[in-house]
Symmetry: C2
Subunit: 534 residues, 2 copies
């Protein structure tokens, strides 16, 4: 029998009709509903989509925040036989126009607040129907609730093969145009089962999950599907919740599972320390998106009293590929070190670590290689076959440089394109950042390569100070004994804030451009520290 | 990418080379080894199989107990591209000859103690090579350790499709000849992932599992594959361990997971009560094979201090189909009632409850219907297409009559062939047995239908007394107020022991034949109580 993600809707109806879906907006609870209602609304919505002319395989776009209607579209679009295309709402309007056109979306479900973002895409595709998710529709638009209210429950969804696409996301690469990653029904089902494994995210019926990760971002890490399968309660915090809102939602709803990027987790820890917010209902705070510092992991576990984990992956891996769960008997320091690693490969996936010639690199925890991945929820091509060089013999080239230890724990040490090659030797910008993040006085940091006449490339540290009087020399002194001396950045740039991409990652490409050019004679003013490689 | 069960061997090598595989024999530990060694031995064994002429798709039989060599064959046979056929060692020699011939096995791996059981099969298939798993090979046989020692690690296993068979078991139906159930690679991979779900058996890297379920019995419930995937330690207790051995193994090895039939669990509870054995390292004692009594569940949880669960399924479902995990907030009595139900469907499977006309029966916890199942690890035909009437439109007819409540909890109330139809109304033999099992003085009981002139069928209770002075009238009195009056068995037969099939189920077919014939005028002697239906 085929694996269809829409079968999870049957589970909602049969197994957990009374579990909750809760909406918050600006910190206030605005709606409480059940999977019973969800099931009925999704089936009517899917019927309405078919009545609107959606045909099997059509792409249907969403440009929307984290709310119950978006969650309904997650299932209704595949149930109508179509492909859920969640558009990144942080893209520029011309980028949105690009991906909507590239996907050839036939319908667009749109939050009122995002109308400006969609303007260029709509102008370029006058035939695309637009459905207003909230507020009053503008002329020519349809009203979402009219579709749900007027639709008849879908009768005999179109037959789908497990290899047919159910969803589509575009990566926001730091180079070139966004590339589409299609997710088949089979990929989503298997990814969802992996999310329920006791050794992984372990999402279960006992959970109440909070969707802080944007729903356009690799299907919110796949957690909505996992919660639907398991019958976990789902709490949707609305668009851009403040950290105080997040803490209040966790406390009020007794949430058990939260996934978030380290940057937000730092804010949440600071807020809880300041206010005494009690977040101990959380059985798991899963960090993802970038490598957390050990201090953050320690603070989550010791100061908040919440178990910390790390998930790692990318849009091309649906996105969960590894999970970091510490050994139960590890002492605290070792435990935090284990959580800081990217962890073990999820069952069902395969990996290889290869050198520049494609030869296998040993799993000794020291040898570095580019990580290749393969498996039922790992892309083996981009949508419409673009950028084929990202794949080799069916394997995804992750672009991440990593080590794997003898127990199969992955440590991502760098992006191939962020690696700094100085005098023929590699310098890890991630390792430098990790040490600097722990130094006093530094709130945030990015290390990038700039060209160098003699050494080809040299590292530069761009730091956001925690207080105005940051001494750049002290910054470099913090590295003494922690990294090889020749890794020390040639200079330190002090900035107010780091430029970030639309998904919140540091825009290293932009930083490199900003810092570019040789700098053999960089001056030692208040924000620059020249250091000769030794 | 295809789903192959052999990929779990890569996980053993990459992720848990140091986890343990431990063998016991007659209560003594006889071998401790690691997955690192397992991986190497399996790859050499698979190479030896290919060198012996095993070709992709060939069936290779095992007739063996629960030991590490059997566990090696679980992976080596599929890795060689062949199909693992685990023969039920409790079958009669002519039945073993039947299944080995029906499967057309090309090789047989044989425990020395089981040579007599294999004699007829070998005589009927002189071309079948036999490999002695232990002891000295007899003339014409090969020695297992010679294969492992002499084999070269398989180089490029034959390409397999995920729909190719990896394993084969025969059901020991109570009617007709055994029927083969083939398990594809895809079925086993998905079944294994389901076994790792936090809402299911939740087998994880933190576990140390004991394989008490026979390895010929639906792949020991699939637990060896789940442990291999997760990196759980595996403890093999050897053939027919005594209950004292099982308790000692759990205590000594700090075992965490144990699956067993209720009959053995009753013995284990009694032993622990008598000796004070501490079994609290177990995080889960999973009951399966028949419905446990509430008293057994209570005793496991309260007297042993071990969480009890129930798994349900059949050879045709690989075998796990549902899992019974109580709600975390249920008070004890409700908790035991929930565990006694067969529980929720595992994700990935679909179910239907239908009446005699095939119409859907509501999920109200009361309405009864035959349970139909479908899914990637549910058989949609028997091997070689036998008994097609067991399947309808791709659905497996389980032959079980069940209710499903509004929360999706299954309760199996009867086998269709064991249901008693009296005066046009159904009587549940399982419900009668459950009540009688809790009555004082009864050690074991079976209720079967016997023909009746007026009522078509009437129930008869066959009881094994706990003490010699059992009063049959008291037996019936125990039913007062617990079941409808007209359900009361027409008579009570007192016996020393119940006849059982080769897998330990009560042989109701045999009982019915023994009791058959009308009995309107059954006499009221010491072991018979005639009761008129009211």
């Amino acid at each position: 029998m085929t694996l269809l993600v829409t079968a999870f809707l049957d589970r909602a109806r049969d197994h957990h009709p009374d579990r909750e879906i809760v909406d918050y907006l600006d910190g206030a609870c605005v709606r409480r509903s059940t999977y019973r209602e969800y099931d009925a609304r999704v089936r009517r919505l899917a019927g309405a989509l078919v009545a609107l002319g959606v045909r099997p395989g059509d792409r249907v776009a969403t440009l929307a925040g984290n709310h119950h209607r978006h969650l309904e579209l997650y299932l209704a679009i595949p149930l109508a036989g179509a492909v859920l295309h969640t558009v990144n709402l942080r893209l520029a309007p011309d980028e949105i126009a690009y991906v909507v056109d590239h996907a050839d979306d036939t319908l667009l479900f749109l939050d009122a607040a995002l109308r400006p973002a969609a303007a260029l895409a709509r102008a370029a595709r006058p035939g695309m129907r637009v459905i207003a998710l909230d507020g009053d529709p503008e002329p020519g638009e349809l009203r979402y609730e009219d579709l749900v209210g007027g639709g008849t429950e879908i009768d005999g969804p179109p037959p789908r093969d497990e290899d047919d696409l159910a969803a589509l996301c575009y990566t926001t690469g730091t180079t070139g145009a966004p590339k589409g990653v299609g997710y088949s029904h089979k990929a989503l089902v298997l990814h969802t089962m992996a999310a329920g494994l006791a050794d992984g995210h372990a999402i279960s019926r006992r959970d109440r999950v909070v969707h802080l990760v944007a729903m356009f971002h690799a299907n919110a890490w796949g957690v909505p599907f996992a919660a639907l399968m398991a019958g976990a309660d789902q709490i949707l915090p609305g668009p851009s919740p403040r950290v105080a809102d997040v803490a209040a939602i966790i406390e009020r709803e007794r949430a058990t599972y939260l996934g978030m990027v380290p940057t937000l987790a730092v804010d949440l820890v600071a807020h809880a320390r300041r206010t005494g917010a009690d977040l101990r209902s959380l059985r798991a705070l899963v960090l993802g998106g970038s490598t957390p510092s050990r201090e953050l992991i320690r603070a989550i576990e010791e100061d908040l009293g919440v178990p910390a984990f790390q998930g790692w992956g990318m849009t091309e891996t649906s996105p969960m590929a590894t999970f970091s769960r510490p050994e139960p008997d590890a002492p605290p320091a070792e435990r935090y070190a284990q959580i800081q690693m990217q962890g073990r490969l999820l069952p069902g996936l395969r990996w290889r670590l290869v050198d520049e010639d494609g030869a296998t690199v040993p799993h000794d925890g020291v040898s570095r290689g580019e990580l290749l991945l393969r498996g039922p929820w790992v892309a083996s091509s981009y949508y419409r076959g673009e950028r084929p060089e990202a794949f080799v013999d069916g394997w995804l080239r992750t672009g991440d440089v990593a080590t794997i230890d003898a127990d199969g724990r992955l440590r991502v040490v760098d992006r191939t394109k962020d690696l700094i090659k100085s005098g023929g030797e590699w310098i890890s910008s991630l390792a430098l950042e990790a040490v600097l993040l722990e130094a006093p006085g530094i709130a945030d940091v990015a290390v990038v390569a700039v060209p160098h006449e003699r050494w080809q490339e040299r590292p530069v540290a761009v730091v956001v100070p925690a207080a105005p009087d940051l001494d750049p020399h002290a910054v470099l002194a913090a590295l003494d004994g922690r990294v090889p001396r020749w890794w020390r950045p040639d200079r330190v740039e002090v900035v107010d804030t780091l430029p970030r991409t639309s998904v919140g990652k540091v825009d290293k490409r932009g930083l490199r451009e900003l810092l570019g050019g040789t700098h053999n004679a960089a001056g030692a003013d208040g924000s620059r520290v020249p250091v000769e490689p030794s």
